[in-house]
Amino acid sequence: MNTSATAINKGAASNIIELKGVTKIYMRGKERLAVLQDLDFTVPEGSFEALMGPSGSGKSTLLNLIAGLDTASSGRLTVAGADPAAMSEGERAKWRSRNIGFIFQTYNMMPVLTALENVELPLMLTKLSGAERRQRAQTALRIVGLEDRMGHYPRQLSGGQEQRVTIARAIVTDPKLLVADEPTGDLDRKSADEILDLLQRLNKEQGKTIVMVTHDPAAAERATRLNRLDKGALVID
């Protein structure tokens, strides 16, 4: 595992994520807080990145910028060949639905929908027919090993199973990039390992690039590269 954050991956793989001089500032009343300071960050395609750091280090902010959930105050950002900051809100939403898969810590699923229906959700934004949506959702559930539970509601699933359904939803539109914010934070050790196995598999076998924010050292172990942030800057070990 390469710990040098500034090492640029030489080789055939191109960079799926490139940040140059990115700064993110929040206004707290009259105070200006620089959460990210002049950050350079690249992620080669097919990588499994872990982002770690103390509370307030800016790791979640970095994730939000990469995922197109937020825009930088200054600097340049390219993700999956596009510049999300240059898009309008509506265009960004569309871009997210096609290019990014989301895995959050908790409450990812809509409690009133079954597992299958939850996985279908991102496909509602496409022009696919109902039958086609269901088929793809089923495939995604098969990949994560929960096909037999597709008719279950979230309350009928364990924490680990819910996260697997979340991952199925994240891959159902076949995005290049998966973004995970503390995916194992709420799980017991065994379930957490299952999830991490799954993520590793998706990364190695399907070539999905994964950027994961985590506090869990065991999770960080699974990544191909570990990045540490502190006070808005990448720490060089």
């Binding site: 929040y26 707290r28 807080l33 959460v35 509370s55 307030g56 280090s57 800016g58 979640s60 902010t61």
Partner: protein, 390 residues
């Protein structure tokens, strides 16, 4: 990392909106309750102030109201001689006779519409017998002339009923309005008064009265008066206290309004209480941790119950005060409607009393307590462990 505060502010506002919606609902209900009671009260007041407890109204036996009653001239003197009748300054008995008719006149502001106006033919001593009536503009109508005075409640409602204007008592019999009178807010203010002889000849009722009014020495003299009048079968008359007559005259209409108001209020309040209940349930679920902490600190279930009840009570009370205050606006308006018992169009105002207002506000508070009871119970049942849950 800094937390943006915008979402905190927004959630607070949403909570404020919820609070406002609940209080608003109760305010509306209280407004309707207070207003309908004020109207019903206004009707009663209008009619009750028309009659005094120490006056006796005389009608022909069997008639329900002045319109259907009629008796001859000659009986007036006999009435004056009855026991208990007060004497005027000139030594004559304070008794007067009226002829009451209804006249169709054009309404102002409603083209082509005609409505019934009560016209009272009065004798010269009418103001002596009815001291609450006073001329406020112009002068009294001179006896035996084609002159009339108009009650102030009639102004602006009918064509010709204005100082200086004329209206027809019958074809080719115009009458000129020479004065405006007020009568203590009573039903008389919705009448037109003319000389009784003028009215008698116009309506072909020569020598007839509809009713007579006798002023008694005191209210306690009434029983003796009644006994004297009604025991004489030759007279064929019946009498009752003037106040009682007017109370009965307004009963029907006042009851309908009060009845309607109460029915509407009943259903309304159910709706508002359910609204309050939903809000309080929401507040309770949101504050489970807070309540759990209080319990862990040692506050009893009863204390929690009371606290939440107090919260919904105060919320509802605030709504009630707003609603009651708003209802006072109605006192600026007059409502004219037909009094079903006497077929005349009378104007009523909304009359507020402290009792009505406090009662309405209290009703609002009660709605808060009833609606908030179940949620408060739920809060009281919160276990201290809830404080530790997320």
């Amino acid at each position: 990392m800094a937390i943006p505060f915008t979402y905190n502010l927004r959630s607070l506002f949403v909570r404020k909106a919820t609070t406002f919606a609940t209080a608003g609902g109760i305010a509306l209900v209280v407004f309707v309750l207070a207003s309908s009671q004020m109207l019903s009260n206004g009707i009663k007041e209008t009619f009750i102030s028309s009659g005094s407890a120490s006056n006796a109204l005389i009608l022909r036996k069997g008639s329900d109201n002045e319109l259907s009653s009629g008796f001859e001239n000659k009986f007036l003197n006999l009435l004056g001689a009855a026991p208990g009748v007060k004497q005027g300054a000139d030594g004559k008995a304070l008794v007067t006779g009226d002829l009451v008719v209804v006249l169709a006149l054009d309404k102002l502001g409603a083209e082509g519409q005609v409505s019934n106006v009560q016209v009272r033919g009065v004798m010269a001593n009418t103001f002596e017998v009815r001291p609450q009536a006073r001329i406020i503009e112009g002068r009294p109508a001179a006896p035996g002339t084609d002159e009339a005075i108009v009650g102030k409640g009639m102004l602006g409602r009918f064509r010709g009923l204005e100082l200086g204007k004329q209206f027809d008592l019958k074809k080719n019999r115009p009458v000129t309005v020479v004065g405006v009178f007020e009568a203590g807010g009573s039903a008389f203010e919705s009448e037109v008064w003319v000389d009784i002889e003028t009215l008698r000849t116009s309506f072909g009722r020569q020598g007839l009265f509809s009713s007579a009014l006798a002023v008694l020495d005191s209210a306690s003299k009434y029983d003796a008066f009644e006994a004297a009048v009604e025991s004489d079968k030759q007279l064929g008359l019946e009498t009752e206290r003037e106040r009682t007559y007017y109370e009965k005259a307004s009963e029907g209409t006042a009851m309908v309004i009060q009845g309607l108001g109460m029915v509407v209020f009943f259903f309304f309040s159910l709706g508002a209480m359910i609204g309050a209940m939903i809000t309080m349930y929401g507040a309770v679920s949101q504050r489970t941790r807070e309540v759990g902490t209080l319990r862990a600190l040692g506050f009893s279930r009863g204390a929690i119950l009371v606290a939440f009840l107090a919260e919904s009570f105060v919320l509802a009370l605030a709504g009630g005060v707003i609603g009651a205050a708003a209802s006072l606006v109605t006192t600026a308006f007059k409502l004219s409607t037909m009094n079903y018992d006497t077929w005349q169009e009378v104007s009523f105002s909304f009359t507020a009393t402290p009792g009505i207002l406090f009662g309405a506000v209290a009703a609002g508070g009660m709605m808060g307590i009833i609606g908030g009871f179940l949620p408060a119970l739920k809060a009281a049942r919160t276990s201290p462990i809830a404080a530790m849950r997320g």
